[in-house]
Symmetry: D2
Subunit: 154 residues, 4 copies
């Protein structure tokens, strides 16, 4: 996986008019969090963490992106249901739907980025390099340290 | 609201082959918890409480019933999506779908039982009388005391 | 251990002018919680639980008694230090200091009541009978059920 | 307050044979956490945070120092009691007792560093400059970001 070439494949966005690509955010630290709206670990851990990250991003050059990476129970987690989830959990950062063609078992970004499941967290440096790829719950303090270290590396 | 006449109106059940009615459980304390799968307070508070109640019900004459009382965003919380939710959250107690005809804004049990929203918790005595109707998060200890007090009143 | 004969041995009381004995509370459910002010499990779990019990006791025939059962590090947990702890944690229910003569390794109530350590929780029925003796953290809901069951048995 | 001149005044150390001074740690980020062993907010929030910081310090150039800054109830929080607290809470990082002469109401470091109470957290850059002084609970993620940002500034 050549990290500088990583790009998400999103078929629909929420909370943004644009169709952002990763390279739009050069100069900023980018946290991408892949989740599923009916994954209990994501809801209990990642969603509160993402809200905290989003708050933090108001004050520092940090961008937070959610990725709805559905790899099971597709019927129950379609974009119209995700929209309700985003509304009910009051999520305000951009969230993209990982592209799914109905043929492959996994959506495209999940395959391209070699994710093992949800939640998965990715942290990119301001120069676009991937610096962290973690599967499962990630500690707030440890994530903060990684972000802080990258903030200076413009 | 004449509590002894209360009966739920359920169009589909999960985790039970039967179509139970409230009066089936005479002689037992019954906790009915009305929730929505995309209601954050329900997921964070009621679901863990229901799992704890269900564990408790293995040792004492207590029956736990979930009621999926959808009163908004119907498209996103249909029974097939609830089935996934039940699977992912590993819920093992009977859960009924509150009957909804698509005409009235609220489902039938919600109207009949005069619920104000979700989560709503109902506790019935072994003689079938309604003894508690609470809207919002309910403290574990306080709920335990109510259940304990009713256990003796067969 | 003949539970009806149980009585605590307290050398000093806080939050009460009287020197209560267990038999004073006939007709009420009594929860006695044995703790040490420098026991991490007691501070994290029992103290919040006791505050919740004390709140509950304003509305139902329940009495909450703390017992400072020091069996190690006696110098660091003397009554004058306990007094500060009670003040800082804003504990308002009666707390007795388990009698310690400096000869035996354990204080007297701890020996008489055969405690294994702290925290230890005891629940007495309104007729004075011991109905629960538990070592370690006790779940709020389970404790609530026990209390509720005993409330009726006057 | 000229931060580069800050130095603690400690009369006794635990978990270290040396008598460290702040300038010993040039080249490392230093977190100093001022607490009192009978301050509920310190015990509930700062102590777990310090344990997490100490774990983190095994992998990055970070030093964690506790400061027992007693400004009330001195009799109940003497060094021999602190020693028991350290043992019971399994704290393994260096903890100094803020110097107290019994005349002034506050201990010396507390006065010199202009603390408003406990908990108080101080973060020093690798060059010794004070970069954060916060009174009250500090969020794990926000603290992590501050530490991360300073790690690069050798």
């Amino acid at each position: 996986m050549q990290s500088t070439a990583l790009e998400w494949s999103v078929c629909q966005w929420f909370n943004t008019q644009a169709s952002p690509v990763l390279s739009d955010f050069k100069g900023r630290v980018v946290v991408v969090s892949a989740f599923q709206m009916l994954c209990p670990g994501c809801v209990a851990h990642s969603i509160p963490q993402l809200k905290k990250l989003h708050e933090l991003s108001q004050r520092i050059p940090l961008t937070v992106i959610g990725l709805h990476t559905v790899f099971e129970h597709h019927q129950a987690m379609q974009p119209h249901a995700l929209e309700v989830f985003i509304h009910e959990y009051r999520l305000a950062f951009p969230i993209g739907v990982d592209a799914y063609d109905g043929k492959e078992p996994l959506p495209k970004t999940m395959r391209d980025w070699q994710m093992r499941g949800t939640p998965s967290t990715f942290v990119f440096a301001p120069n676009g390099e991937l610096r962290l790829h973690e599967f499962g719950a990630l500690d707030d303090m440890a994530l903060g340290v990684v972000i802080g270290q990258l903030l200076n590396k413009t």
